[in-house]
């Protein structure tokens, strides 16, 4: 894809006016990049066909820095919403895309972001069908914020609900935790680690679809521990269903360099944000089969069982530590890493 010389190097307020400059920016970058029958109509809205249940999810992305190891705000904005739709047990099909740009954003940066949105959307198998572009004055935003709203058809075999979770059900994760948050920390000013930690930001929808294809209603829950991390999400689930969660620290997949970076900064990896991690709750009878399927998939190579649901300590997440002691994993209070997604 080539984008012609635009004749301007930064985005200015006029590009958000709704007039000729807006049309120019959209025609030369947005419509050209994402061209598809829905978007090509250039209407205020898109018209699509759906029959039955659809899952809808929205997220605004305000991550800083906008470019980081393993991705940028554009690819993240696709992955985040695609994954939220997938976690509902749906097959993501369409995204809306809305930019809030701070005056002065380099056009070359905008194009880089737009190209990565396209790449991530293609990899996820979703189309950008409608959008919006606003520009705010310098100092009233922070380079670029992106909202995506995603729509997906429910997988015909899905029956995902916390209400299906029983005592003894196993909790699996697809891979190493805490990478996204630590990648962002390492990219932020003054915090450069010698090691190169990459964000795990990726689309999980193909793997969740394969799991539903194979195991249908035996999959009781998907959940991606983004903001707040694994600890907060497990705590939320335990509370929602009035059951306990028992996990073992030794079973939680964690890269050595990520663990080291967390220790150095005094952060608990259980609360660090992920963008390519999800948990799957299954009946214990299919644990091995599910893990085998996941481990064969490129988004689940490090899949493992981290624990189970129990009636022993309702509403509490209890972790057996590496040295055998037990501690309660409370939810994250306050802010650990601001603007992580």
């Amino acid at each position: 894809m080539t984008i012609e010389n635009l004749g301007f190097e930064t985005i200015n307020l006029g590009h958000g006016s709704g007039g000729e400059l807006t049309r120019n920016l959209l025609d030369k970058i947005i419509f050209k990049t994402f061209s598809n029958p829905f978007l090509d109509k250039k209407d205020d809205g898109a018209i699509v066909n759906f029959n039955g249940e659809i899952a809808i999810s929205t997220d605004s992305f305000v991550i800083t820095p906008i470019f980081f190891k393993g991705g940028n705000i554009g690819s993240l904005a696709v992955h985040g919403t695609v994954n939220d739709v997938a976690m509902c047990g749906a097959i993501p099909k369409y995204l809306s895309l809305a930019f809030i740009i701070e005056e002065g954003l380099k056009v070359s940066d905008f194009i880089k972001i737009v190209k990565d949105i396209k790449k991530a959307a293609d990899e996820s198998g979703v189309l950008i069908i409608t959008g919006d572009t606003k520009v705010v004055e310098r100092g009233k935003g922070d380079q670029i914020f992106i909202n995506t709203t995603g729509f997906g058809e429910m997988h015909p075999k899905a029956n995902i609900s916390v209400d299906n979770i029983k005592e003894g059900d196993k909790i699996l994760v697809n891979g190493n935790i805490a990478q996204h948050g630590m990648a962002i920390m390492s990219d932020r000013e003054g915090l450069e680690f010698e090691s190169t930690i990459e964000s795990d930001s990726t689309n999980l929808n193909h793997l969740t679809k394969e799991l539903l294809d194979a195991f249908g209603a035996k999959i009781k829950m998907f959940r991606d521990p983004t903001r707040g991390g694994l600890g907060t999400v497990l705590h939320e689930i335990a509370n929602d269903i009035n059951k306990g969660v028992a996990i073992k620290e030794a079973d939680i997949p964690l890269q050595k360099q990520v663990a080291a970076a967390c220790e150095m900064l005094g952060l608990d990896p259980m609360y660090v944000a992920n963008e390519g991690v999800f948990i799957v709750v299954v009946d214990p009878s299919i644990e091995t089969e599910v893990l085998t399927l996941m481990q064969k998939h490129d988004k689940g190579e490090n899949a493992t069982c981290i624990g189970l649901f129990t009636q022993e300590h309702p509403n509490k997440v209890v972790m057996e530590s590496l040295i055998g002691g037990k501690r309660i994993v409370s939810p994250l209070v306050g802010e650990q890493l601001p603007r992580i997604c």
Copy 2:
């Protein structure tokens, strides 16, 4: 609706962390205000049922000031997206709602906005079914930005398409133009007019539905001239279908005080943003009937015919001025009023 004492007076970064503070903010304000079966599940996404064609539209709202005469950023965020869905010929049903809040926003202001979102959603007959809340540091946003994405079922009788427009088709508007833009200007620092111009921000979906109920496929197009104003929108349509638009300045409904304010500031009301105005394109045979219906509706009391499509000057909008001369209405270039929506 009462919202209990929250124990904090401003929004801080922790409210965007995804942890306990986020949950607290959502439980006490968002879930309480918008409670409905979709949202009450508190999942990352909502699951809804649709059968057939649905219209989807997204908009991010960055208006400043966030409170203005005739509305605020919350009511506007509902009206803007509800109207975009309605303009597709659809019946809006659901909205997603995503906040980007600047640290330090007064909780009382946030509650005021949330309450007006609820009120506008109720009046429009739409449910808030999923959402997101992010917080950015002071100086990295501007109080609050709101994204809404709307979903509506296509009206069974709708057959809206610019391709249906023929020479001679009439262009009607539902009411006075340029009020929203001038209300914002009058509210902005240093620009207080003696007169009180109110934004026209409102939901148009009930009127568009009545029009489709009554006239079905004879309605060829709806379009709301928001950013860029009536002039830009007419120019876009003329260009899209390679036809001319002939309008008469004398027929364009415009409040006297709005006209005076525009003149004082050197602004052309044809380019000033509207939020409660729409144009309807119809076969000339039903012009009178359509106007009669519109004028009986509280959102169309000042409805009038402003012109027609012609082959005489393709791609051009030509306006006959009050004194009889003719001028070409070109599209808005650059920025007239930044951050008007």
